[in-house]
Each structure stands twice: as C-alpha cells, then as structure tokens.
C-alpha cells in the first residue's frame, strides 16, 4: 500500500524549518493528534477519526485550533473609509460589535484573501484573515495605508479556537460563566487572565458556534476548558469536510487572485454602490454582463470514488471542461461533493457533469448551494 500522500489542500511548505508551532501544539500531541504542515504551521489533521469529528460538530460540539489565523487591528478617523476602499463589502453597514464577511481584492478584482471584519468601536476594527495570507495581506494593506489610520498585525499575540456545533452555546456557558455570547456575526470582549478574550459568533462549519481569541499564553488553558465543557477536539480534516458541505470557499483552492467574488457566486458580500474600492470596476462589469465562468456545487448522483481537488470535470459528452477545486466524500450525505469553475452555460442546477477519478467517470449534477442544511438555525 502506498503511504497516504499529503492532501493537495494541506498547503505544506517545502522547507520544514519554516514550519511554525501554534501555542496549542504540544497539547494536540498530548491529545493524540496526527499532525501535518498546513500554511506553514504544524496543525492537527485529526485526533481520532475525521468522520467522528465531523459528526461531533454536526450533532454536538467540537473545537478547532485556529491560532494560525491572523488578526489585524485598524483604528483612527480614516479607518472606515480606508477599509471601504480596501475591502469589497460595506463596513459602514456595521454597528459597533458587528462583523461581516468580506474580500481583499487586487486591481483585477481577484481575491487576495477572504476575511471577516468586526467593528469594535466607531473608528476601530478587528479583522481575522487566513493563516496562509497574513504577511501578504499586511504588506498589501500597509502599502495603501493613509496617514490618519493606525494599522497593526497582532497575529502573534493571539491564540484562537473555533467552538462549533448545536451545543456550542452550552459549552460557552460552562466555560465562561457570567458572560454572554454575542448574536450571530457579533463580537464581544471581556477581561481574562493575561489580557482580553475576543469572542465572535461566526464559524466555518454552518453550525451555531463562535471563534474565541485569547492571549497566546492562555491558549492551552482555554482549549482544555472548552474540552472540559464538552467540546470534542477536531482537526483540519473535519474542518474541510464541514466547510465544503456548506460550500464555504477555501482561499487558495476555491478562491485565488485570478477569480473574483462574482465568479465565485459571492456577490452578496460585494457592495458596488458604497463608493470606489480596489477591484470595483472589474466586478461591476462582471455583474452587469454575467461572468464567463461560475463556481458550482457538484454532487455525485450515486456512490463512487471520492472526488478530490484537481480531478478533471467533464461535460455530459465526455469533454474535459474544468477540474475540481475542492472535493470530498461528504460524511453527512454519504456522497461525493465538490466545487469547480465551469462555463456559465453549464452552471445551472440540474446540469449533468462527470468527475474523472483515475480514468473512471462518475456522474454528478450541479446542485444549489449549500449541499447540507444544518437543522438548527443560528441565533
């Protein structure tokens, strides 16, 4: 048997000496995690079984280390107009304590990163970015930073953990007695040992949940506190299958500098009316004319070999038209699911396509997003 090769979406680095450790690394090892390099970080891919961890998040509550992700702080009288020039969504819509999903775009309207912007005050913001893009995001934004804005990269200061599942609110109540979770997309802060905890009612799984940030030195203690409150440790394997069931994109796989949010079907998070922003012109044109390609959700019509990133996608006549950017055997559906950019004419739900796995063609249909609808709705 071949030793299982690295997952194409693991994003491992070629030089192992540059792999970084999160504040929770030794805890993961003690908990029996299988560790892999991801975006330059040594991360748990699974502790027990990806299927079990996925099921725990869908039915109860799981916890993920997200300390590798980045945190930027922006403040000053020019903060809001600046962020509205840099990002595609409209931060002016945010009241203090609210957050929104947004994009950092290049001049061609392509995605540098997808991120969440939280307004923490009239002129202050807390931004969470992808681990793989921290430096690039920072340098791009710093290049465009005006005089009346303070901008700092606090990524190294914070440990982070995502607590996700229908029982996540109960776990929060046990671990943080006396504190209240914010509403959906909201942010709260409260004092903890060593500084402040920042809690955001968001997630990457489709379930109710929150992302909890604390001073790096307190990370282990908090991770263990949430485990004691009932959360099951879950790794990157389950994180990927959960987010893909929801059609949440993964930057670097489903999003890239060559793809716009319009092509990705994420125009809801782009505000073309708010005023000018980097990439606006291209997006406005695409919205008016319709993009040439669209990111679609593909679901196998029957059992078959699991779809994976980079497997060819064929039209019904057997012609190769694209490749999957993401793919997995959906634990919740028991079927292969994936996403791919296809010509607009083939993007309609119901369209028959094929996925090539080692030369065998498995039938799949374009379906409406998401693949999976969680039973419980978030607050």
């Amino acid at each position: 048997m071949t030793s299982p090769e690295g997952d194409p979406q693991a994003g491992g680095v070629s030089d192992s000496s540059t792999i970084q450790s999160t504040p929770l690394e030794s805890l993961h090892v003690r908990l029996g995690a299988r560790m892999v390099p991801f975006a330059g970080w040594n991360m748990p891919v699974q502790y027990s079984s990806i299927m079990d961890e996925h099921a725990a998040v869908r039915s109860a509550v799981g916890i993920f280390d997200i300390s590798h992700m980045g945190q930027f702080i922006v403040s000053g009288p020019g903060a809001l107009p600046w962020l509205n020039r840099m990002f595609a969504n409209n931060a002016a819509k945010l009241a203090p304590a609210q957050g929104q999903y947004s994009f950092l775009l290049n001049e061609a309207g392509g995605v540098i990163d997808d991120l969440i912007v939280y307004r923490t005050g009239e002129d202050s913001f807390f931004i969470v970015v992808n681990a793989s893009m921290i430096d690039e995001d920072y340098f791009w934004m710093a290049k465009h930073q005006p005089e009346d804005v303070e901008f700092s990269n606090e990524s190294a200061l914070w440990a982070g953990m995502a607590v996700q599942g229908p029982e996540s609110a109960a776990a929060f109540a046990k671990a943080c007695p006396g504190q209240e979770l914010p509403p959906r997309n909201g942010i709260v802060r409260f004092p903890v040992d060593g500084g402040e905890a920042v809690v955001c009612r968001t997630g990457y799984t489709g379930e109710d949940g929150f992302e909890f940030f604390c001073p790096a030195a307190q990370g282990e203690a908090w991770f263990e506190k949430f485990i004691a409150a009932g959360a099951k440790p879950c790794g990157l394997g389950a994180r990927d299958s959960l987010r893909l069931e929801m059609c949440y994109p993964l930057n670097g796989s489903d999003l890239s500098p060559e793809r716009t949010p319009i092509e990705a079907g994420l125009g809801f998070f782009v505000d073309l009316e708010k005023g000018d922003f980097i990439g606006r012109e291209v997006l406005a044109k695409q919205k008016a004319e319709g993009p040439a390609q669209r990111l679609v959700a593909l679901e196998y019509t029957d059992k078959g070999a699991p779809p994976r990133a980079h497997y060819p996608v064929l039209d019904a006549s057997g012609q190769v038209i694209s490749e999957l950017c993401s793919g997995v055997l959906s634990p919740s559906l028991g079927k292969g699911i994936g996403m791919a950019y296809v010509p607009a004419a083939l993007a309609k739900p119901g369209t028959d396509l094929l996925v090539d796995v080692r030369g065998r063609h498995f039938p799949a249909k374009v379906v409406k997003k998401p693949f999976y609808k969680p039973a419980a709705q978030k607050a």
């Binding site: 030793s3 990806i50 299927m51 065998r360």
Partner: protein
C-alpha cells in the same frame, strides 16, 4: 497490533493467505490503523493479470487514496464485493471480512519470499 502468524506480509503492508494456488490479499491491521476511516475501495476487474508490485486496487480514506500492490504475480479471480458495499470492513476486520482480492498465483514460491509474521512485526516496530 494484530499480526496473524499464518499469513505472509510484504513491506508495503499487504498480507497474503495462500491456499493451493489461490492467494487472498488484504491490508494489515497496522495499515488500516494508519489510514483510519476507509471510505472507498476500488476493486480490480476479474481476469486482470498483475505482476508482483503492480498497483492492483485502491483503498481510500477521507484525505488520501492509497494504492494496494500485488504481493505476488497472478490473475485476479475473485474480488470482495462486501468491501465495495461497506469499506469500513477493511478497518474493523482487515484479515477476515475486509479481504480485498484473490489471485491465482503463477509461482507459489513468490509467497515464500514475503515476510513472515515475525519479519513484519520487526518492520512495523
């Protein structure tokens, strides 16, 4: 770690049970533990001839697809439809219900060249 005494093993973690000139092949307990959840098994077509070392079947976990190599040369005479229907058998019963394919071997001496249980135990440490 379960390493039955009556089987032979190759370095890539397949096991072989030779009965007459029929070799039953699967993957070891060590291998299924490394893979964790097996979610799909791709079986070879009946009648396919393979040489020792040829990729013959595929066992897939959530994160990766792994080739299963022919531990001896031969012709595929039977495949285990049960693991196609329920891939988890490879995890729960790797030496029993989780067998993968059977080869009619050309040269039974090839089986002798495989590791015995002690040799495989030493390999996996």
């Amino acid at each position: 770690m379960n390493v039955p005494q009556n089987l032979r093993y190759n370095k890539s973690h397949e096991w072989v049970l030779l009965e007459g000139d029929i070799a039953t092949v699967g993957i070891s307990d060590h291998a299924q533990e490394e893979l964790t959840d097996v979610v799909f098994v791709e079986l070879p077509p009946i009648g396919k001839t393979v040489d020792l070392g040829d990729p013959t079947a595929v066992v897939e976990s959530v994160k990766a697809a792994s080739d299963i190599y022919a531990p001896v040369s031969g012709e595929v005479v039977e495949v285990n439809d049960a693991v196609e229907a329920d891939p988890s058998l490879v995890n729960s019963d790797p030496y029993g219900k989780g067998w993968i394919f059977k080869l009619k071997v050309k040269n039974a001496a090839q089986v002798e060249q495989l590791l015995d249980a002690a040799g495989y135990e030493a390999l996996i440490g």
